[in-house]
């Protein structure tokens, strides 16, 4: 058994439009590492690393975060269509003004005393996850003149094998800043839509929060699930 090669989904580390890659991408070709037991196993972190309430980023320091309240939900699947159950998701993001709670973030948007900007949850038996947060703001950076990062949420996932490890960013539909963002555009064009969440009116809660759906697909083994398993919706 081995996991499929999905390199066509991913950006090249040598992506000069994103200037920070300049001194950080390897210059030698990657060497082929056949998948053996160390790579076919992996840490199976799930609900054991999550404390109650960590899936709600809007409640912090006895108060409520400022901004557009949103629900971000979806499923974690493998590329064969199987759900990935009980797997840890860790997320972090800027606040509604585009400011991170980090000493190195100098963007002069106000910090929000009621928003720390990190969350955790684990998927259920069907691979479903759900966070409540506020929509992050766009923010400027120094990559090029008048450079602005589109609004995004950072996500980290383990899956069930070392080779399924994924760190990515989720974006919002129809963001006008995509055209000039070298991080989003580092991804092969055909794969870029897979970084963008969809507005989900069924997940939107009346007088409470807007819903966004973001399904996350990790590498599978290329083996078709058994017929008796339910199809994903």
């Amino acid at each position: 058994m081995s996991y499929v090669d999905d390199s066509a989904s991913h950006p090249a580390n040598d992506s000069p439009d994103y200037r920070s890659t300049g001194l950080r991408h390897p210059q030698s070709d990657l060497h082929l590492l056949p998948q053996r037991l160390t790579e076919l196993t992996g840490p199976m972190f799930g609900h054991d690393r999550v404390r109650p309430g960590e899936d709600d980023l809007t409640r912090c320091n006895d108060g409520e975060a400022v901004g557009q309240r949103i629900i971000v939900h979806g499923r974690v699947l493998d590329s064969d269509g199987r759900p990935v159950p009980d797997t840890l998701l860790e997320i972090w993001q800027a606040n509604a003004g585009g400011r991170y709670r980090h000493v190195n973030d100098q963007w002069p948007a106000p910090l929000d005393p009621h928003f720390a900007g990190l969350g955790r949850c684990a998927t259920d038996a069907d691979g479903r996850y759900r966070f409540t947060t506020v929509k992050p703001g766009a923010y400027p950076w120094k990559n090029h003149r008048n450079a602005w990062r589109p609004a995004h949420i950072h996500l980290s996932l383990f899956g069930q094998a070392f080779v399924q490890r994924l760190v990515t960013q989720m974006y919002f539909p129809d963001d006008p800043l995509f055209f000039q963002d070298p991080i989003f555009n580092s991804v092969p064009e055909a794969a870029r839509p897979r970084l963008v969440s969809a507005y989900d009116h069924d997940a939107t809660e009346d007088h409470w929060a807007l819903g966004y759906r973001f399904d996350i697909v990790l590498r599978g083994t290329g083996q078709t699930p058994f017929e008796s398993e339910p199809d994903d919706e």
Binding site: M1, S7, S9, P11, N13, S15, Y18, S20, T21, L23, R24, H25, P26, S28, L30, H31, L33, P34, Q35, R36, L37, T38, E39, T41, G42, P43, M44, F45, S79, D80, G81, E90, W92, R101, H102, N104, D105, G117, L118, H154, F162, R165, L166, V167, T168, Q169, I183, F184, S186, V187, P188, A191, R192, R194, L195, D215, I216, V217, G220, D232
Partner: protein, 179 residues
């Protein structure tokens, strides 16, 4: 049903320390064990102060607590995964135990993952042990590399610790793998 294509990787960015450091991240064992230290540097030789290094390894019996391993991993007191952000000097550190041999071909090894601002997809490398010259000489992964690259995957005895520096680019660049 068509197969869904995988979600693309994106950089971990400069603000990973908001969420990802764990208080117990660098400690794979609660007592004893060996210490692994290293420095993450870029193509100019400058420290990378905003990276994240993760490791995954077998227990001293060569087993993993995972359903893909036919053996039962019953070595107590080891969480075989570690995570350490690099500090202002690019330094990282783990405390663990030496893994056993996973199979009859491979020398004892630790899989190492590097994330950083400026890396759009994480890098994968391997750490081998300096006291395993015979096993290293027969290891199929090491032997698939050019000789100079091979040496860079073997940690160095440095007083009481093992040193495994990671150079992202340029002279002495660490060999990285497509897995």
């Amino acid at each position: 049903m068509s197969e869904p294509a995988t979600t693309p990787s994106q950089t971990i960015g400069p603000f990973l320390s908001i969420a990802l450091p764990w208080h117990d991240g660098p400690e794979l064992v609660t007592s004893g064990g060996l210490t692994i230290v290293g420095t993450l540097t870029d193509g100019a030789g400058a420290p990378v102060p905003d990276g994240l290094v993760e490791i995954w390894q077998a227990d001293p019996d060569g087993h993993f607590p995972h359903p893909a391993d036919p053996h039962r991993a019953d070595y107590a007191g080891l969480r075989p995964f570690g995570r350490c952000p690099s500090d202002a000097d690019g330094a990282f550190r783990f405390r663990t135990v030496k893994p056993g041999r996973v199979d009859t071909e491979q020398a004892p090894h630790i899989d190492v993952v590097v994330f950083a601002r400026g890396l759009l997809k994480h890098l994968v490398t391997r750490l081998y042990f300096p006291d395993e010259a015979t096993a290293n000489a027969a290891d199929p992964v090491l032997q698939s590399l050019p000789a100079d690259a091979r040496d860079r995957l073997v940690a160095v005895d440095d007083a009481d610790v093992l040193r495994f520096d990671i150079r992202l680019q340029g002279d002495g660049e660490t060999p990285f793998f497509a897995v």
